[in-house]
Subunit: 257 residues, 2 copies
């Protein structure tokens, strides 16, 4: 199994406070040591930094802080391998271009089988590595592109992703984050929590090392930031636990579906 | 216009000596300051580091040395914008999955138009940014995937890429590097040179700053390394200038077609 961290905001925000706690789970407060990756969207583009080392020992992961990257949508993943060797091609998040946009996907869980594509469907996407996760992402992207030649409405996209995800979770555990840099989808089979922060901001206390941050100096009245994670990252906030089979859509820092 | 740097080897090799000279052209010995990017293949996977800053000022580019990344195939690009804004989505190299493999593309030149895909062709790939370069890459990938449902032989691939490239250069300058991590294609309209290094290795002298390296302590009898660049990077080696319309295929460090 693995752990997921996502952020969706209405102003470009760094993920440092969340990432610092999250990465402690890659060998210190938990055992997710088989690779790490993070995607930071910047406009229509995305920067992905991945390593097959643990987030705590990877020089690539450890350099991130000094880049001071701010984003509206970020997805991080620390891996504990279930299916697929420990190597770079099996490291999340995965990326594909869909309708002229970058789509980034990271998964926590384990799927024992995937449905077959319908016979007359076109295969637009194929996995590069050997994980169930990348295969599931390709299955989803193939379903979507066969159904919609051009990008559908947000409502159509939401309904389709929900339907595909509920089918996929029939074969196991399928918690995932998916973003195109504008919106963030989160789907839960077993473990996914979120918290939306907005004014008045205050102090929060990190679960993994009791570090404290006061968000007031860094925020304005209109800022909205949602953090999504496999397990809550702070102690003194009311994280919402998602239900089995629930799909959330976050945009501009808050849940809209 | 931009500049290209590629490396193809038979043993994992770092690109440091070449990159250090090449990056001086991003503001010091030349003016390619509108972004930089480099792709390092690792097995079937690839790490891409891009920035919309100059290679000489980008903290991301400046961190690369300490990761000590060795690769069989690397592609680097420094941009001087012709078409498309200076932003991250217009920064080379570009990436698409084709036949379950990562394919990375970087371009130097300027295309004023692109042919249309034939009417019954499927659109597998669409550009994300607004450069002629990414559009040309998508055109090529669409042509290839429409023609070959699964990966063709090396000979078929070579012939097809050559034909597509010669068509594309009818509308301008089309120097490019293209790799899937196993082989490296280089196509020349105007400016592309290569040098193949093998035993006995010796000292080489860098063009951009007169730095010297002796490769002997770092190499073995059987090592082969080909470097491809828009302009030669060393003074005391016989770089081969490619012809207009010529496609080269490099594998295991040497030219095979």
């Amino acid at each position: 199994m693995c752990q997921l961290l996502g952020m969706n905001c209405n102003v470009p925000t760094d993920m440092n406070f969340s990432m610092d706690g999250f990465y402690l789970r890659a060998g210190q407060t938990d055992q997710h040591c088989d690779g790490c990756g993070v995607a930071f969207f910047q406009g229509k583009s995305v920067r992905i930094f991945r390593d097959n080392l643990s987030a705590l020992t990877s020089p690539i992961a450890q350099s991130l802080r000094k880049y001071d990257l701010k984003t509206l949508n970020g997805i991080a993943h620390i891996r504990k391998a279930t299916q697929g060797e420990i190597n770079l091609e099996n490291t999340h998040p995965f990326l594909r271009e869909l309708w002229g946009e970058n789509w980034v996907f990271a998964h926590n869980g384990n799927l024992t089988a995937l449905p077959h594509l319908e016979e007359n469907n076109i295969i637009f996407y194929e996995p590069i590595g050997t994980t169930d996760s990348e295969a599931a992402f390709c299955f989803m992207a193939n379903q979507l592109k066969n159904k919609f030649k051009t990008k559908p409405t947000e409502k159509q996209l939401f309904e389709s992703i929900k339907e595909i995800s509920q089918t996929l979770q029939e074969n196991g555990t399928f918690n995932f984050l998916l973003s195109n840099g504008e919106v963030m989808f989160a789907f839960c089979t077993t473990d996914l929590y979120y918290i939306t922060r907005h004014a008045p901001f205050g102090e929060v206390l990190r679960v993994d090392d009791d570090a404290v941050i006061d968000f007031r100096p860094y925020t304005t009245e209109r800022d909205k930031v949602t953090i999504i994670a496999t397990r809550p990252l702070t102690k003194n906030e009311n994280w919402v636990k998602m239900e089995k089979g629930e799909l959330c859509l976050f945009k501009q820092g808050e849940r809209i579906k």
